[in-house]
Each structure stands twice: as C-alpha cells, then as structure tokens.
Symmetry: C2
Subunit: 897 residues, 2 copies
C-alpha cells in the first residue's frame, strides 16, 4: 500500500498500529487490544475495522470498496503471521468477529466466533488438534452464532435443537454429546438456517467474514442499540468498529478454559482481584452461566503458571491504565491469552472507593479522583434504597421521576396528608396528577405517586426539587379520590391508609412496607460522624478536593428556613432561588384570595397589609439560616388563578348545585373571579413582573418584607445579604418601573431603621427577549439569574405541563431530542441565548453576577455548559447541592485539561 | 458671548440663526420662523429657546442657570432691535411665548400673548397707540391666558367673569365693553388669580416671561401631551422649544386683523389659496370662532396691498418648501406680519391629490410624491365611511379594531349569520368575544362587534385579516346569546334582527342604519374605471411609481380562491400564507372530529382519506387564481382541540344533563376527547409540526392534496408554484423528518402523473429557537417565512389572546410599550431575532428566500424594518396589499436617500 493511498482513506488497522486513546477510531475494544499488543501482552493477533468504515457504510448503504481491499490485505498479513489460511481445509485459520464501539453498548451484535469453519475445514481443524469432537463442536457454535446474530434467526430454534439432541441422548450436559451427535446437530442447524433465513449457510470463509462485519455495522441501528444510546445520551453518529482476531480456544480440554476478571471488586470497590473461571469453555459459556464457574482464586490450584501470569498482567494493566480493569482471557492448553481489557464498570460506591484508594496507592492524583466519579453516582449514593434482600410484591410500574425509596400509608389529598403526618404517620400522596394545591401534601409526604404525567410533570419537578421520592405516570393505576382508593389494572384495590412502597429510582410500586436502607452519605452530609466507614471517607475526601478546585459556586433553591439550613449543611453557598409564592399557600391562601377578589385598591392594600408580617417573618428566618451568605428572593411569579380553584371543576359544581336549586353566593362570587382571571395560556399570561406592575403595592409589600427582615437581622447582629429578583422581565423598562418602587421602599426603611442594608436588585433572564436585550437590561440589573425552565419553554414554544404527555416520547423516538430539554439544557438553542445574554450583560456591566436557578442547575451536563459560559454560580435543590459541587469541580478540571 | 462658551452650551437662538431643517433643536415653529426670517419675509423679531434647554430642565427639575443668562442676552438684543424695553412703563415691549415641539402636539401649552404688560406698562401701551381700550383689553387677555395656561386656573372662571361683565352691560359683544369695564374686569381677573392660584399675578415682566417658559416646558409632560405622543408614536424624550417673539397686534382697529391660510385646500387637495381672516382681532379669536370670519378672498376688497403681499408670500413659501403650507399672519394697521408657517396637515385625499399635482406642477419628482403619502392614508381612503351629513344615534363605544363602516342586522351566532346572509340579509355578528367557531359567521357578516377583547383579540385580528369592519371591547354592552339580545349600560336593549351600524375607524356603535359612502379607491383597485376622478388618478399615478421603485415584493395571506383573486387584483405577487386549517371548518368539521376521536391508525387514515379530495380541490382553485405566482401553503397549525367544543361549557352541559338523569353518549365520548386533548397552554402545546410528527399521515395527506392539485393544474396547462411551509419548527431535525415524508409523497405523485412539479419546501421561523438555529435550519429549508405573531408571543412570553385584556393598557400607560408589539414589530427584541435568522440563514444558503407573514407584514413601520433587514417579501391580508406596496416603496426610497 502506498503512502498516498493511506492518506486518502484507511479503514483497517493492525492491532500493533493502535493505542488506547484511539477509541473514536478503533472503538473501545480495538483500542485496548492494540494497547495490550503494544504492551507486549499475549494477545491473539488481528486487526480492527474502524468506525470510519462503519460510518461510510451507514451513509452509503453499501460496504466501501476500499474496505474489502484493505480487509484482504490485513487478512493476508494475519494469515502470514499465523501460518494458516482462513478456512484452509487442511489447517484452517479461524477468526472471531466482534463489535467494538467507543462506548460499550448492549443491543449491538457482539460476537461471532470460529469464522473460517465449513464442511471442509472442520476436518482440518479436527486433524490439527487431534480432537474431532472439539472441531464439530466449534462448527456447531459457528452455525448457531452466525444464524442468530448475522442471519437474525431466533436463537431458540438452535437451543431447542441442542436440547432435543441432549434429550435423545438422555443427558443434560453438552459434554456428553459425542462427535456423531454434534455432526447430526450441525446438519439440523444448517436446516434451521435454510428454513428461517431462506439461504444456505455460506461455505466461503471470506463471505462468512464479510457478512459478519456487515451484521456488526447494521446492528449499530438496531432498536435496542438506538434506545440505549438515547437513554445514555450517546451520539447517534459515532459508528462502531469491528475486531477480527485469530481464534484461541478455551474448550480444548481441562488444561484450557476461559475467564473474566476485575482488578478490584466492581461492586464494593474493595482492593484485590475478583473474577470467574470456567474450565474447558469458551468465553460465552462463562457469561451464559451454563455451568458453575470457579473463582479466580481457585485457578491458582488448577494452573498456577497461568494464574501467576494473569495476576502479573492484571497488576501491570491496572498500573498502566491507572484504573480498575475488566479483563477477558482464555487459556488454551496451558497458554494464557488476553482477549480483552477495558476500564471496568463499577457501582457508584465502588467508583468513590476506588478513586479514593487509588490516590492513596499513588496511582492517580486528587484531581483525577474527582474526574473518576460523577454527580450521577453521588446522587445514587444519596438516595435511600429498598433492602435488596427483602421480599416485595410489585403492583405497578411508572416513571422513575425522583429517586429514593419511600414507604407510607396511601392518602389522596393534602389535607389528609397533613393531618395524618401531624399525628406521626408516614404517608404517600397518591394523585392523578398534582398541582400547586398539593404542595403542602407533598411536603409532608414520604413520597408521591401519580397515575398521569411524565418526568417533567408538576409532581416530578416539585418532588425532585424537594428531594422527595416520586413515581409518576403509573398508568396502570386508576385513582379515584372520591372513593379514596385506587384500582390496579391487573386487579386489586388499594384503599386510603393501606401501606405501599415506591422506588423512585426504578419507578416500581410495591404492596405493603418494603424495608428501607438509609444512606450513610446523606447522614454524613447532614453532619453525622462515621468512624471507619470507607465509603463516607472516600466521599468526604473527594468532595473536599472538588470544593478546592471548582470555580462555579453552588447555591440552593430553598423557600423555607428548614430547606435553607439543610442546603447549607449540604454545602450551599447561598440561596439562588427563594420562591415567595410558596409562602402564599397553606393557611395564607385565604389572605391571597382576599387580595385577588378585592374590588378596589383599598381592599387590595388591606389584604397586602395582612400578608406583610407573615412574609417578613419567613424572610427573617431564611436570612438567619443563611447568615453571611447571599439569599436571592424572587418576587411572586405565578398567575394569580393558581391560588384559586380549577374553573371547570368549580363551574360544574356550581351548575350542579344550581340544578338542585342550591346557591352558594361565596362560591358564585369565587367562580366570577376565577372566570375573570381565567387565561387561555396562563404560562403566557399575567404573571411575574406583570403582576408587580398591574397590582399596586404587591411587589412593594414583598420588598418591604424582605428589607425589613434584613433590617431586623442587622439589628440582631446578623449579616444578611438579600438579593431581590424580578421574574419574567422582557424589557429594561419593566425592570426600571419596579426597581424605582423598590428603591423608594428601601430608602424609607433604611432611614426609619437607621441601618444600611446590603441588598441587590436583579432579574431573571427567562424570556428570549430578555436574553436578546440583556445588554440593555444589565444597565438596571446587578445580577442575572437564568430561569432555564421558562427560557426552555419560550425558546422551544412548548410548555412543560403540556408537551411531555402529548409528544415527547415521539420526539425522543424520532431522535429530535437526544434527551428532554427540560432535563438537560439544549445548548444549541437555549444555551445560545444564555451565552449571548451573559456576554452582552457583562459587556455592559463587567461585574454583573450571573447564575442559573432552573432545574438545569443540578444537571451534570448543563453544569459543564454553565461553567464553560462563565456563570458565577448554579442553584439547585438542596439535595442536588453535593452533586452540583462535584460536577462543578469536574467541569473546571475538564476545561483546564 | 465668547466662542468658547457657545461651544459648551447654547440654549437660545435668534430667529436669524436657524433654518427649517433644525426642527430637532428649535422645534417646528421655531425652525420655520427662522426660515421665514432668513427668506426676508416680514416676521416680528424674536428668539427660540431650544429643545435642549427643555430636556435639561426636565432632567434636572430646574431651569439651567445658563438659560437665564442667555435669555437675558437675547432679550436685550430684541429690546435693542425694537427700541423698547420689556414692560417699560413708558413704551413697553410686549412679547408672545409659544411652545413649538418638533411635531405639533395637542395638549401642550401653546401661547401666552402680551407678556410685558402690568399695572404700570398698560398705561405706556395706551399712550403709545393712543388707544386706552386696546391697552386694557390686551392686559385683560394676558391675565386670562397667563392664569389659565401658566397658573392652571380653570379658564371658565375668566370667561364667566367676562360674560358677567357683558351681561351687566346688557351686551353680547366683547367690543361693547369700554375702558372702565375692562379695567374693572382686570381687577376681577386678578382676584380670580389670587383666589385660585394662591398668588398675585406677577408684575415683574421678566418673571412673567420666565414662568411662561417654565410652563411650556412643564406642559411637555402634561397628560394629554403624553397620551398624544403615545398614540402617535412620538418619542418621549424630544422636549419642546419655546419661541419668544415681539408682539404685533391685529386688534388695533379695522385696518388690523389676523388670519390663517393654506396654500392649497387641506381638505380636498384642490389648488388655490384657502383661508380665513378676522378684522380687528388677535390670532386666538380666529381660531376660537367667536365672530364670523371672512374668507381670504374677501380680504382683497378690504386691504388689497396686504392681500397681494400675502399671496405673493404664500406662493413663495409653497415654492420654497415645495409643499402645501399652512400660515398664520397678522395685519397691524395695514402692515402684514407672518407669525407662523409649516407644512400643512391634510386629509388623506388631499395628500394624494397634492402630491400628484405637485409632480405635474414640477415642484417635486415622482419619488418625492411617493414619500409625501403614507400607507396609513391610503388605508383610510380604502375604507367605506358613514356619510358625514347623515344623522346617527351613538349607543356605545369600543375599540377601533378594524376600520370601515358596516350596517346590518344583529345576529348572535355563526349559524344565524350564515342562514340570514344566505337569504340576502346583511348582518353584524355580535359576540362577547370570538373564537375559531365564529369564523364562518365572520366571513358572511358585514362587521363584527364584541364586548370583550382588545385590538389584538381574535375578533380584531381575524377581522383585519378579512378586511371586515370590527369594533371590539365595547364593554358597555352586555351580550346575552341565550335571550338573543344585548343590553346597553346607559339603558336600552337591542334584539336579534335589529339594525345597527358600526364604525371600525372610530369604534362607535350606532342605532339603526347610518348611510354608507363607498370608496372609489377600492373600486379602482378592484378594476373599475373612473373617468375624471382626480383622487383615483392621483392614487393610480403614485401607486404606479411605488411599484416601480420598491424592492420588497408584496404577497397576500389568503385561504380561499376568492381572497386569492382579490389579492391579485390588489397587486399581490403571490400568496405568502395560505392557512390550511381554515379549510377544516364548516361542513368539514365533522370529518376533522372523526380524525380526532379516531382510536387507531386505520380510523385516522380513513378520516384523512375523506379530507383529501376536499383539500385538493381547494388547492386547485387557489393555484388557479394565483397562476404563475408563488403560493405558500402552511400545513395545519392549530391544536386539534380548537376544532372541538370548549371543555368547561361541555363539562357543565354534561353535568347538568347528568343531574337531570340524561346521558347523551356521543356527548360524553366527545367530552372524553376534549379532556384528553385539553392543554394548560394550548399555544405551547401539540400544534404545528408536532401534529405532523405525532399524527401519522396528516402532513402527508396535506402534501398530497397540494401536489396533486399542482399536477392537475400542470396538466390543464397552468403554471402552479406551490411552496409547502412547515409551521412551528424549532429544530432542523423536525423539519427533516417531515421533509423526508413530503419528498416521498412528491416522488410518487410525479412518477404516477408523469409531471415535474415545481415546488419548494420551507419553514416558518416563529419560535425563538428556530431563529437562534436558523443557520442549521437553512440547510433543510428553501425558504423562511417569519411568523412574527407567534415569534412576538414566544419572545415576550405573552399570548395575544390573554395579555391585551389583562395588562396591555397598564404597559402602554407606564411607557413599557410605545405601541403594542403585535401591531408594530418590536425591532429591539423580536426584530433582533428576525435579523439574526436572516443573516445566519443566508450565510448557510445564499439563495434562501425570506418573507414575513405575520400581522406585521401590513404594518408600515414594520415594513420599513423588513426592508432594511433584506427580506424578499412581506405578506399581508388582501386589503393591506396596496398599503404594503406603497410602504415598501417608501422604505426603499427612504433607505436610499
């Protein structure tokens, strides 16, 4: 091959040509085989067909002609190295074909072994090894794997035939089948192929190889692979590589065998090797679990040379990769072969412990330890879980909306939830779907279960915000609030007061109380001391380092003193979003109703006066809990009718009473107000700063409550830092109108109280217009907080409440979203607005403080984006604060690397 | 004054220092006084206090110290020129103080005459002229004007005192009051001032002057002035100038007098001078109409020298300004003085005729004629009007939502409207508010009247779209559909079938039938020939020139063949928006209902099959009407529940029937569907391209209907140019999914029919995300059409349906909007997205065709913006097409000038 051709296109690489960093090109498996080859480890030779070849095939729909030529060339080299020709009837070279994408992916075609065998070469193989049974068994395996994975024949047909053969022989063990049995089985398998695939099994070894390669390529777009990529946010366009490797055989008798091993325990993270070995077996037998394996340690007694060699290699690999490795190996008649290695998958617990231990072992440094764990893993460690050993009865399945394990008595409304909880009961709130009325109930419940709505429904979003376990959209449940029960589609009824258990990490709903195991990690964050808990020590060490390196500050979204205090314990550096409307619920709803139905300004003023001392006290307590740290308080945001009953329900109620001759005047007046305030699109209606401009005194009352609270804290020797945040600003003119009023209020209070209150006034950037005119808005705002929930809604033009049910699943299926833009920030569209607003705002006011307080503030991918854009902080629910701290550090480290 | 000081700040300019182009600095009046002075015309000398002084005063709240000094200096120069000192007891200089902003503005303080008179100088004035009565009458006038305009005393107090004096004298004429009467009246006026202003009338002439100047400044922020600026979109920060000018007196006997004149008739535009003159009177007497004026022509007989001089000056001014001038003059004892000139205001009719005639007269060129008229004026000429001479009885007033004059019988629903209209009756549809259900009724009605909703409510927007007269938000009406009547708050009831008349240009509602005058201009556009109609000739000539110079193409929004044909007659160069959902209404609603309640794909497919031939036939006819021109067809956009009944209404209905033991299963099933499709925020829900992706076959059916229609037209020898437009695209991935299906459909049809259909596929840009990612989207779109209605909604985050009622008026009052962003494009926010998307789209695809099809396509200001951004076309309702043609030309000319 001339150099100039190599420049044009290279689709195939010998193992010796690659290394572990070429995963994009060679896939994970290929890159690691190359690495091991170059480390001088015993790897059966072979070559890798690159992901570029796969991409070219998928784009054109046909295998590129250059590929066939390159395969011919590399195959020739392999044949030369091995001294055998593929499918040679006398002494055949056999190869395995394995997929290997950048990220390992269930659902891809994985392996076809023994390619090169056919009716002629099977005899050559038998002759070479002097083992006819082995040769026919290998041929049988090729037919089975090729039929199932290349020709897409249901593998049951093959296993049924195998079972029948064993049954005819009166045995349960494969090994009892002799040469004749296997030869007959090969015949049967061939017939199965002709019958189900409408073609003969290809006798041409090269055709076998080419078809297997093509099958690997095609499996990239297999249904399960596509779904997996989507759920794991793996890009669609990476393609997979294919590894073609000389076969070695673990099924050549008791001096042969296959095994898998980890250099540390992938479940617990404990040091020490860990693995399984199966004598006289090929790799897939180990995984299939058809016979009992021995532990790796037992291999020492069976084949000490190989065992020592393996341990030596494992130690070398761990040192070389500086990480826990996962290994597949085969021993062929006492000779050890390495078939695969990769950085091993591990549980969250193992991830933290291994990272921490490896720092102690001197394998990696502190920063690398931070990069070795993820926020997602930390979150997993924080949720309570059901005891895995305990018995349970599954009654329904919904969406895993907010993780955790919750047990409690079923209640169907907030009043009952509060009442029962007040008397010490643990409850689970069950609703068709939730709305702001259910907030009190959600707060006192252990968990929330709904029969409607997706992962971004009200229930899901609010529950996640509270760190409350939630399963939503469990549509097998028929919730009937009237009769205080839900029916289960499969049969059965659960009544109010019955115990259930819900798993927010899996979406499962269980009958009765499943025992729950607490999270030590949360208890550690809460301040509990653990002597001798290696996991807690590991988390503590890594979090300490994370806090040392991260640039982004982390604040919490908290609306009450309890949440604020918890957030602070969890490491929050202030409150990024304190929603004042949550303070309007509960007992205060009646006062808010007075405000709404007030017919003139004096009546409005009276209602506001009644709310003032209550709000002020809230703020005093929150500022106290966050003493010395900034507390960003958002003035009231939602449309007022959210505080009133639903229009249709109330209309029906009034109409029915009317039909029965009853007339409740209060209700009729209330219905009038509901109708007056009704909006076609409340999300696009009278809310946020618009309320502040339209309702005289509303924002002033809130500003007064905040600033008087701050004055009290100052006089009590405290160090309050309130930041007043105006929601839903679209234009600097709105902000200016409101700001002027607030500054007036502040002047009066400061004069009267004789204190200087250190406060700021800023705005949410949550409308596209605010982002587009951020350069102007920054003239009036001391800080921006990106409200990425609303910004996502407006930028895409769809509402969180409505769209998930109606078309999100179709959109995910069609690949329009890789992930819901409410879960992870849409960096191309919404992110472009965030970036523009940040740049334009800072151009106007270089010291402008920038933060984000949407759901995205706690999402790892989004945190990395916010770090890159240069925000000063993210704010998220208290329970996400440690996650955000960790991911902020990872973002800093990744960006600087 | 040294040169260096003048560089720092100059607040005052002598008339000789200015010219007519300095309106920003000197105001309109001051600039024109300067111009006349420099032309050598007889202008009483004086000086102008600039708008800069006003702005400084308004910003600081006090008169700048430099201003006082400069006024002293200029006053000194004026005194020197006139040989008199201000308020000199022997021979006083008297001055007038007049406001003069850049744009003339009702509500501003206009004039205080005779400043410089006081208890002492009144004697000097009497001595100088030998006319004691004149002196005391002048003093009396000063007190009255100063009291009313500077001290804000209700002018009725003064006119009551004047009436009392005349009554005591037993006369009705001011002239019958003698010196003693006037002296007594001065005493009375002084007491009125002390009583109502709690201060003495200032005897110091300079204090009089300074207070008057300050009063002019203050009047800039007077309520009426602010409202006027808002309605005329005049910026808030211009400030006003103040003109201080030596007094000349028209009230010095019969050889004196005052008059106003126009160089052409401002009402009709006819050539020939036109004006009024009043002997022995000051200017305000002419305007006040207290005595009968003589026509300008009659002046010739009274004072031929002055008359000839005036005509000479008027002719010179018209030549100099090259426009019709409006003049104020005074003759003082036979000496002609020019007090003011400006380019005269005129009616729309006069504007067109004058512009056209001036081209013939060689005063201006063709292009200037186009710039001399506006789209707004043309629109005025197109609406039918009520005969001004006819009697009428006003019963209510609403918003002038869609201009025109409509007479008809009141109907309360679409069915009645259609039924009555079918039998030849003219009807006016009266509703609380309208929704898509009312569309059929609106189409057959002469006008639409609603008691709720603003200028951008559904009724207003749709009516404007149809060119249908509409008055909306007439909240004095209590519409009761059940009893088929509306009550008027002031009293009275109008029943179904009663005749009413509505004026969409004024918002007035009249009892009975007011006679209507037709518009010749519309009849001309419709193709009627008028021999000898100067207005039609003028419009034709100017429109011809406009079409010759404009760069922007103009298309129409039309959903049916009739509208398409009319649009074409009105000069549309294609259809920019054909809304296919309007084709789903009427008789076809049932088919759409089948589609919606279909429980599986076969049922959906059946419903779609039934719709296909109907849609196809629509498209055949529209393509025929627009043969040879592009027709942009938008696939279905609104959420499906818009085709179903209202949820609350239906819920109540079902509940009441249920209470009475009735169960209508069809209705119950329908309610289920309504509930299933119910969305919290339909504007942000399942609509547009989302429907196309979620409902299999829907967009394909529409694409098939369009392309099969095109194929039929081709086979019939036609020249169809369909452009298929996908609504509500946020991401190129949505567009790609849909485009792929359409291209498949097109391939099949082209193969089957054996024709090559010249079609394009493009997208609406109506979501912020589409604008932000337009560079990507242009890879898949052959054209963009900016849907600025939705883009405005999403960018601002408010819905047209909801916000106008709830806070637009407060926003306009607070100055947050100068004008509703639904009426005129918000160039800062929404416009920035349009600009970005245009640039990014063209960067990807230089030949990308760009248009706009929102309401803004017919708005003059917005058209100028779209021209500047470089769009290829605007699309608007057929009736706005001539307006858009004209404004597009004006935009081209203004940009190139």
């Amino acid at each position: 091959m001339s150099a100039s051709i190599r420049l044009v296109t290279t689709y195939v690489y010998d193992f010796a040509e690659g290394n572990k960093d070429l995963k994009d090109l060679l896939g994970g498996k290929g890159a690691n085989l190359a690495e091991m080859t170059n480390l001088g480890l015993p790897v059966p030779p072979g070559f890798t067909i690159s992901t570029e070849a796969c991409k070219a095939y998928l784009a054109q729909g046909t295998v590129p002609t250059e590929l066939a030529e390159e395969v011919t060339e590399h195959l020739g080299r392999l044949e030369q190295a091995m001294g055998r020709r593929l499918g040679d009837p006398e002494d055949p070279l056999l190869v395995s074909v394995r997929s290997g994408a950048k990220f390992s992916m269930p659902g891809m075609m994985e392996t076809v072994l023994n390619i090169g065998l056919n009716d002629a070469s099977v005899a050559g193989l038998a002759a070479r090894g002097g083992n006819e049974r082995f040769a026919w068994d290998s041929y049988r395996r090729l037919l089975q794997m090729f039929g199932a994975t290349v020709l897409h024949i249901d593998s049951e047909h093959f296993s049924d035939a195998l079972d029948a053969a064993k049954q005819a022989k009166g045995t349960a063990a494969d090994l009892d089948l002799d040469v004749e049995d296997l030869r007959a089985l090969v015949g049967t398998y061939k017939k199965i192929i002709v019958h189900h695939a409408a073609r003969e099994f290809p006798q041409d070894p090269r055709e076998q190889l080419d078809l297997a390669v093509k099958a690997v390529f095609d499996s990239w777009n297999g249904e399960r692979a596509v779904l997996y990529r989507r759920s794991e946010r793996i890009p669609e366009d990476l393609g997979t590589a294919v590894n073609v490797q000389a076969m070695v055989f673990g099924n050549q008798g008791v001096s042969s065998g296959s095994g898998v091993a980890f250099t540390r325990d992938p479940a617990s993270g404990e040091s020490g090797v860990y693995g399984d070995y199966l004598q006289n077996a090929q790799g897939e037998d180990v995984v299939a679990g058809i016979r009992n394996t021995m532990s790796l340690q037992e291999l020492e007694g069976v084949d000490k040379t190989s065992y020592d060699g393996l341990l030596h290699i494992m130690s070398a690999l761990e040192d070389h990769y500086a990480d826990m490795c996962d290994i597949e190996f085969t021993i062929e008649r006492g000779k050890l072969w390495m078939l695969q290695t990769r950085v091993g998958k591990r549980t969250p617990e193992a991830a933290f412990r291994i990272a921490h231990h490896m720092v102690d072992d001197g394998l990696i440094d502190d920063n690398e330890a931070v990069l070795r764990v993820t926020g997602g893993q930390l979150a997993q460690l924080m949720f309570p879980r059901f005891d895995e050993a305990a018995e349970r009865r599954l009654i329904a399945r919904g969406m895993n909306a907010s993780p955790g394990a919750a047990v409690g008595k079923v209640v169907f409304d907030s009043d009952t939830a509060v009442e029962w909880s007040d008397r010490g009961e643990e409850v689970i709130l069950v609703r068709k779907e939730t709305n702001p009325d259910d907030l009190r109930g959600m707060m006192v419940s252990r968990g929330v279960l709904t029969s409607r709505g997706g992962k971004t429904s009200h229930a899901a979003v609010v529950a996640r915000g509270m760190g409350r376990t939630c399963v939503c959209g469990a549509d097998d449940l028929d919730v009937d609030v009237k009769t205080r029960q839900f029916r289960i589609r499969g049969g059965g009824v659960v009544h109010e007061g019955d115990l259930i258990s819900i798993d927010g990490s899996t979406g499962e709903v269980f009958d009765g109380a499943v025992p729950v195991a607490d999270s030590h990690v949360v208890r550690y964050f809460e301040g509990e001391a653990f002597a001798d808990d290696d996991l807690v020590d590991s988390v503590a060490a890594i979090m300490g380092r994370a806090d040392g390196v991260r640039r982004l500050q982390v604040r919490a979204n908290a609306d009450n003193p309890e949440d604020a205090a918890r957030a602070r314990r969890f490491g929050a550096q202030g409150i990024g979003l304190c929603r004042t409307e949550h303070m309007f619920l509960g007992d205060r709803r009646e006062l808010v109703e007075h405000l709404i139905v007030a017919e003139d300004e004096p009546a409005q003023a009276k209602a506001l006066d009644a709310l003032l001392p209550l709000q002020r006290q809230d703020f005093v307590e929150i500022l106290e809990a966050m003493d010395g740290l900034p507390v960003t308080i958002r003035l009231i945001d939602p449309p007022l009718h959210e505080f009133l009953p639903d229009m249709t329900e109330l209309s029906v109620k009034v109409a029915i009473e009317d039909a029965h001759g009853k007339h409740d005047m209060r209700q009729i007046r209330l219905l009038d107000a509901v109708k007056r305030l009704h909006e076609m699109n409340p999300m696009l209606g009278l809310r946020g700063v618009r309320l502040g401009i339209v309702i005289p005194g509303l924002f002033e009352m809130q500003a007064r409550a905040i600033l008087e609270a701050a004055a009290r804290r100052l006089r009590a020797g405290g160090d309050p830092h309130p930041e007043i945040m105006i929601p839903l600003v679209a234009s600097i003119r709105e902000l200016n109108v409101v700001k002027e009023h607030i500054i007036e209020v502040a002047k009066k209070i400061q004069e009267r109280e004789g204190v200087e209150i250190p406060f700021k006034i800023g705005t949410m950037i949550e409308l596209p217009r605010a982002a587009m005119t951020a350069g102007q808005i920054a003239e009036a705002a001391e800080f921006f907080s990106f409200g990425t929930n609303d910004l996502t809604q407006m930028t895409w033009g769809f509402s969180r409440d409505d769209v998930e049910a109606s078309f999100f699943s179709e959109y995910l299926d069609a690949g329009i979203f890789p992930v819901s833009p409410f879960e992870s920030l849409d960096t191309e569209g919404v992110g472009a607005l965030v970036r523009k607003a940040s740049e334009d705002g800072r151009a106007t006011r270089p010291e402008l403080h920038l933060g984000v307080c949407g759901e995205h503030g706690g999402d790892p991918d989004s945190i990395h984006f916010f770090n890159a854009v240069g925000l000063d902080y993210v704010s998220c629910s208290p329970f996400r604060v440690p996650v955000a701290r960790l991911e902020a550090a990872r973002a800093t480290l990744e960006q600087s690397s």
